[in-house]
Each structure stands twice: as structure tokens, then as C-alpha cells.
Assembly symmetry: C2
């Protein structure tokens, strides 16, 4: 079995901890069995490994999420980067094409597609074996996972159809995606199941879907034509139209953790970061990623979250409705983890006269990493090294730099930084347009320069 | 009449907008008659000027408040800076010594002492005329202002004694400072008044108090011996013991605005700064001085205040009890207004190895101002000019600097910055102890360099 993990969107309902580069599935707010903090994607991956130790796992994500995927799951997974954000139908086709075209997948194998964000028990992953078996026995194209509904939601798809007593699966009689409230009530009353967004598919079925769109199974062509694929969900495009689907049911815990209300219920500690709270707070969670303190007094059923991007103060229930308010904010991300390290925006200033701007950042490059060799056309930069040592590359010349050194990088000059031990610097950008897009990258091989220096061997 | 305005302490109950350098009386959260924003001290001063246009006004404050006093009241008031924070008794003696010794005050004149923070009507200041008249007619040493109590508070002093129908004042029969609840209930039931903290005193009486402490009326000696004066309030030391006091009553609005609960009730706008609120917030005030947004949803009776020093989220009533929580915070102030301009701390970082630290600030020097000529023994500094032009002084040599210039100031080197048009720079400090105390100041006269350059005269 091959597994496709669909890494979803930014999760605006978990603002200000989630932004385009830092989606909710990467927030390390949960705890693993040993009590160490882990993210949703790390939890899901750990659970998959437990039930399916040998399955190949492919993570499909946006380009902006690529760094986070590698940082949190390492090299043990493959990562397909969508060229643009579409919906689950194009994403599943792209991932399928990768497996079929690049991975030389056996046509007899099955592909399991899983969303990355549900909070579930281990039994959920054991169901993947049952779903594979159901597909083989029934000869169907796809197998769904039916979840026992807890209320007549208008957000989910509904599966109807009974399961025979002697079989671990049933045939889908009808499928209704996102019904109105009245229909949802009737469906729940009639014993329907929610569609949990898990699909087990025959490789040959995925092949047919891809061929329908672009005529052949080519990852390269699908990647190039990605923006022209239908902007729609797999449920609307495939599940709802299918006449050959079976389903398996799961009745354990199933929680989407997509809002602060649901996520805080799974957090072991009510506070994170520099928080001072009075004794008179009840059912209140406070997460503070800033260096300044949060003082909380007399709060009830409240969530307070402070990050470099902003501050949320919300009644827990009301936090589910934050999306339209957060969509009014168009600030640039103020904090990002990257593959080479991380940065935080400290200051942005517009000049009093003219159109010039300044932006100040604190950057940290991790030991053994480097920032890409780059130039900017619209800004000068001043770097002041405040911690560690690095290798500074300017127009092809490398020199060692350390705490106290000040580097002036005029617009148009090619530059990079690498470090064996880790380096921090304050960057002051000055120019008219201070955007991440003003960058041109060039190849550069640091080679052996980046490996730690070897000391004399010790006899003891 | 001479007026002493006692500028009180930092007002921990209005954290995070108040800190040692930025006390509550300087917060511009009120509105004047034209709708412009004003602070408590500006409001009091405006009201004094209306009732007593010619009275000389002296503001007594801590050294840290000196910049704020000059910034908000300008040169129209004199400012006595206490060498250390004591209580109202030493503060009144020091101010009195200044008036008697330096100001050559007439012994027949009276001195009115007023706290800086009550929110009152204009009639409160008209009462100062009545109090002066009461002192003359009665021959008493001091005249108090009695406030009609609204509840049996344990925080105030109580004045008992009736007023005759034909006189605008009464003789104080007894004075009880901060009674227990039972006594307070009895006093309120018996028609006692709160002591409003306003005193009108004979100059000769103040002279006697000073002579009792140091033997002579010398501002210089009192200033030098300030730390050895009794650390006590004027109410305990003088009012409670006095056998010759009269009082005048005031029954208009009298509100101390010392907590977020009382202050927000006087704010015309519920929000300040970058705030996005859902429609479902009730009786909620949000003040945001940060550049990142605050999103508020579903809050009731809540106050949210975000500043560079920290974030308060509190039930309005509970905010009155914040003092012990805020006293746990020992961070340095992150934002300060100074006489030369202002600065904001952007970043603080400890080196991963060793004891070195780094601190990054954004400083703004106002047009026509300069930073004192100074040197630091424990840190190097890198200044990157990001806006405007300035005059940079290094070890006695002045040169013009502008946006884009980078200045390296090694420890031990004397430096200063002045500007005709205003200048912004990012300062990176690097050293072992990054404290405001690591500074030695030197005299320097910028002379005509700081005046705006004169252009050719125009005929039109």
C-alpha cells in the first residue's frame, strides 16, 4: 500500500499561529506518548508507521510548506509540492501521477489517501487494512471510511448503505456532499455516515482518472498543466459520481482540531510561553510566542494566542467564526521557519519623505546550513553578526565572519551565508520594495567548507 | 497662590501602558473640549489654568518622569525632580523648599497641593479660591477638600466636622486615615467626608515643617538629605496630627481613573490602534500600541491592552487586582519617550556560548534635538541610519550622516547624534551588560549646527 498524506491549507481559523508558511498541521501543540511535543502531521505519521511500518508515504503540500514537511518528517517521506493551491481532486491526481510515473508503482497495489489533520485513535489506521481487503473482495474502484455522525452537520459528505453482518464493509447506496440542514437531519436519522476524507483507491482507477484529464500518466505534464485542472474536491468530482464504491466504518474518536475551541481541548498544558495568570481564570488557554509577558485576569472560556503575526483574544466558541476577520489582515508573515533556520521581522518603517522603506530582521542560520546565493535589485542590506561564526560569500569570494562584524551588501551584489556552528545576524533592508519576491538565486557549492572541522584524534 | 502638582508613581494597575518612565498620568487616552487626545496631567493643567490663569505651577515628579512633564506641559511649568521616590510628605516639603528658597515666595501667600490623577469637574478648581479664603478667615494652618463618599472605602482618609450655614468652610473635628471597614461604615453613616488629597497651606506653615526636619529652609540641603526624610504620607505625618485644620466640600464628579475599569469608562473610543473586533463584543475596550493586529471575538466586560512592554487581557472588574501579578515582571521598559525623541527595543539575544548579549533598538531623534554626548564601557554599537539626516559626533569630530550610512562605535569612544530634520536609526548593541546605566555623559555644545539652515529670502 502507498500512502498519500494531503497537507491542507493554512488554517486561518488557527490564526495567529498559522500562516501561509506555517499551517496548523505543523504547530507543535500536541504531545506524543512520551510527553514530548508534536504536531498534527507528526502525530498522524507516527500513527501510520505503527499500523503500516513498511508503507511508502508521500506528502503532498504547497511549496511554502515544503520546508516544514522536511523539518518535521525528515527524509523518511517523499514530498510532492503543488505548483499552485487547487483542491483535493487535482492534488490526488498529481500525487497519483508521481507514484505511477516516477515510483514505478505496481498496478495491482492500492493507494490510500489521508487528510493530515484529524485527531484520531490508532484503530483508524488499522481500518486501512480492512479497506484494502474490501477493495479486493468487492472489486470496487474506491473504498471510503464512514464516521458515526454526532450531529447533523452541513459541512460533511454523507454515505448511506448498510453493512452485511458477515462482511467488514458495505456497498455505498448513495453519497450526498454537504447537504442542507434538513437533509442532514434526515440522513443522520436514517443511519448515514460522515465521509471521513479517507480513500483507498486501486492504482488502475487513479490511472484512468489521470488519463481522462491529460491523456497519459505523466507527472511532468500534469505538473505543467496543474493550473488548468478542475478546481474542485475529490468528493464532488469522483465520490459523488461513483457507482462502484464500498465503505468501512470507524466509530472511535474523530476530531478535526481545526479551531482553537477543538485544539485547546487536546492541549495538555493550558499555557505556553511567558504567561502570568490570576487564579480566577476558568477554562482559559493562553499561548504566547512573544518575548513580552501576557497577563490574564478573570477570564472564562477564553483563548489568548500571541505570535509575531498578531494577537487573538476570543471566546472559545466564537473562535470558530474568526475566518472573515482574519481575512482582513494582509500583513506579511512576521516569523518563518525555513529549511536553513528561521527569521523574525523586528521592525518596518516608511520614510517620512519619498517612497523608501526599511525592514529589520533577526535571522538564525542553523549549524551546517546555508542561505541560498542570491541578489536583490531593489534593496541594500546591512548585516550585523551578533552570535556565532559564518562563511560570508560576496560576488564569488568567501570570507570568515563572526560576532561584531558588519557587512554591507549593496543592491545587485550576489551574497550568501553558510555556517558550521550556527550564526545569528540582524539584517537592515533599505529600498523601495521590500518583498520576498525581489530575489534572484544562483548555484553555489559550499562543498567541504560546511562540514565541521576535524580535530586531532583522541586516544582516550 | 502657588500650585504644587504631585505627579504620582508609575501606576502598576494601568500596566502595560504605564511603566517607570511612562506613568498613567501621561497616557493620552482622554479627550479635551475640542476632541483632541490629552493625558490626565494635561487635563488637570488645562483645568487649573481656567480657574487660576496666573498661578505659578510647579510639578514634582521622579527623575524618570522629567522628560514626560516637559514634553506634555512644555516650559510653562517648573519641574522639581525628586532624587529618589519617597511619599507625599517629603515630596511636599521638597516642593515647598523650592518655592520658599529658590522662588523667593512671599510668606503671606498660600500653597495649594494637588494630586495629578483625579478626573474632576471645573468646580473642583474653583474650590481652591474658597479654600484660600477659608485659610485667611479661620487662621488655620491647612485647609482640606472634603469629598462626599459613595461607599465605605478603607483606602481613604475621613474628615468629620460640620460646616456652618453662613460659612463656606468647616473646622475639622477629627481625621481618620485609612480606617477598617467597620469604622469606615460608621464614619460614612455619620456624614464624614473623604479627604481628596488637596491641601491649601500657609507658606509659614510649610516653612515650619521644613525647619523641623533640617533646621533651615534650604532646597539644596533638603535635596541632599532627601533619602533620610521620613518615608510617609502627608496625611499620616501632618493631617492626622493637626489641631488647626479647616475643610471645604466638593460634591461634583471625583474619579481616580487609576484602574482600567475606571479609565475605560472615560474613554470616548472603545478601540485604539490596529484592532479588528467581531460584532459580538460587549462593553469591551481594546488598546493596541503594537504594529501587529489584535483580533477580538465574543468578549464581554473585558479590557485588552497591548504595548511593547506586554499584553493585558482582563475582565474589567478583575483588572483592579492586577498589581501583584504585574509586580512579578522585571523586564526592562521596551518603549520610552525621551526629551530627544523615542526608542523601542526590537530584540534581545543571549549568545549561545559565553556571557555576551545583543540588544537591537529603533531610535528616533526629533528635529532640532540631540542625544547626549556619551560613551559606554561595556558595549560596542552599530548604528544604521534608515531615515533622515543627522550630525554624528565621534571623539570630537562632527560629520553629516544620512540614510544608508553605517556607524561603528567601539566601546570607550565618545559619540552623539543631533539632527535638524529628524533622524531614525537601528542600533545593535553588543556586550556583556546591556544596561542603561553603562553610560558616561560629556558636555557638548552643538551651537548653531542644530538650527535649521536659512535659505535665501523670498520676495513673494
Amino acid at each position: 500500500m502507498k500512502i498519500i498524506l494531503l497537507s491542507g491549507g493554512s488554517g486561518k481559523r488557527l490564526w495567529p499561529l498559522s500562516n501561509n508558511a506555517r499551517s496548523k498541521q505543523f504547530l507543535k501543540v500536541l504531545q506524543d506518548e512520551e510527553g514530548s511535543s508534536e504536531s498534527m502531521i507528526q502525530r498522524i505519521y507516527r500513527q501510520i508507521r505503527k499500523s503500516l511500518p513498511d508503507a511508502e508515504v508521500l506528502v503532498t503540500s504547497s511549496e511554502a510548506q515544503g520546508d516544514s514537511v522536511r523539518r518535521q518528517l525528515g527524509d523518511q517521506v517523499e514530498n510532492v509540492l503543488e505548483p499552485s493551491r487547487r483542491d483535493t481532486y487535482p492534488a490526488i491526481l498529481l500525487s497519483g501521477a508521481y507514484l505511477l510515473d516516477r515510483g514505478q508503482m505496481d498496478e495491482g497495489e492500492v493507494i490510500a489517501v489521508l487528510p493530515v489533520d484529524p485527531y484520531v485513535e490508532q484503530d483508524y489506521f488499522e481500518k486501512l487494512h480492512v479497506m484494502e481487503q474490501a477493495l479486493c473482495e468487492s472489486g470496487a474502484d474506491l473504498c471510503l471510511l464512514g464516521i458515526s455522525p454526532t450531529y447533523p452537520s452541513e459541512k460533511y459528505g454523507y454515505i448511506t448503505g448498510g453493512t452485511a453482518a458477515d462482511k467488514p464493509y458495505g456497498h455505498v447506496k448513495s453519497y450526498v456532499e454537504k447537504p442542507d440542514l434538513q437533509t442532514a437531519q434526515r440522513l443522520v436519522g436514517g443511519g448515514a455516515y460522515w465521509n471521513g476524507g479517507v480513500f483507498v483507491l486501486r492504482a488502475s482507477f487513479v490511472r484512468k482518472l489521470i488519463e481522462k484529464e491529460i491523456g497519459e500518466v505523466s507527472f511532468e505534464r500534469l505538473y505543467a498543466q496543474y493550473a488548468s485542472l478542475p478546481y474542485t474536491s475529490f468528493d464532488y468530482e469522483v465520490t459523488e459520481k461513483s457507482t462502484s464504491a464500498v465503505f468501512v466504518t470507524y466509530d472511535g474518536e474523530w476530531n478535526d482540531l481545526g479551531t482553537w475551541n477543538t485544539l485547546t481541548a487536546k492541549m495538555r498544558e493550558p499555557d505556553g510561553g511567558f504567561v502570568i495568570r490570576g487564579e480566577n481564570c476558568h477554562n482559559t488557554h493562553i499561548i504566547n510566542e512573544l518575548e513580552i509577558p501576557v497577563v490574564a485576569l478573570g477570564l472564562r472560556d477564553t483563548v489568548v494566542v500571541a505570535s509575531a503575526d498578531g494577537i487573538l483574544v476570543s471566546d472559545k466558541h466564537a473562535s470558530s467564526y474568526m475566518k472573515p476577520y482574519v481575512e482582513q489582515i494582509h500583513n506579511r508573515p512576521m516569523y518563518e521557519k525555513r529549511q536553513w533556520g528561521e527569521y523574525r521581522v523586528l521592525d518596518f518603517a516608511q520614510c517620512r519623505h519619498g517612497k523608501e522603506n526599511s525592514l529589520t530582521k533577526h535571522l538564525y542560520v542553523e549549524a551546517g546550513r546555508s542561505i541560498s546565493y542570491q541578489k536583490h535589485d531593489l534593496r541594500d542590506e546591512v548585516w550585523t553578526i551578533i552570535d556565532g561564526e559564518g562563511l560570508f560569500l560576496l560576488d564569488g569570494e568567501v570570507r570568515e565572519v563572526r560576532r561584531g562584524d558588519v557587512l554591507y551588501i549593496a543592491k545587485g551584489r550576489r551574497h550568501a551565508m553558510a555556517t558550521r556552528e550556527g550564526v545569528d545576524f540582524i539584517e537592515v533592508q533599505m529600498g523601495t520594495e521590500l518583498v520576498e519576491e525581489d530575489i534572484e538565486r544562483f548555484p553555489w557549492d559550499w562543498g567541504s567548507l560546511l562540514r565541521p572541522e576535524e580535530g586531532p584524534e583522541s586516544d582516550t
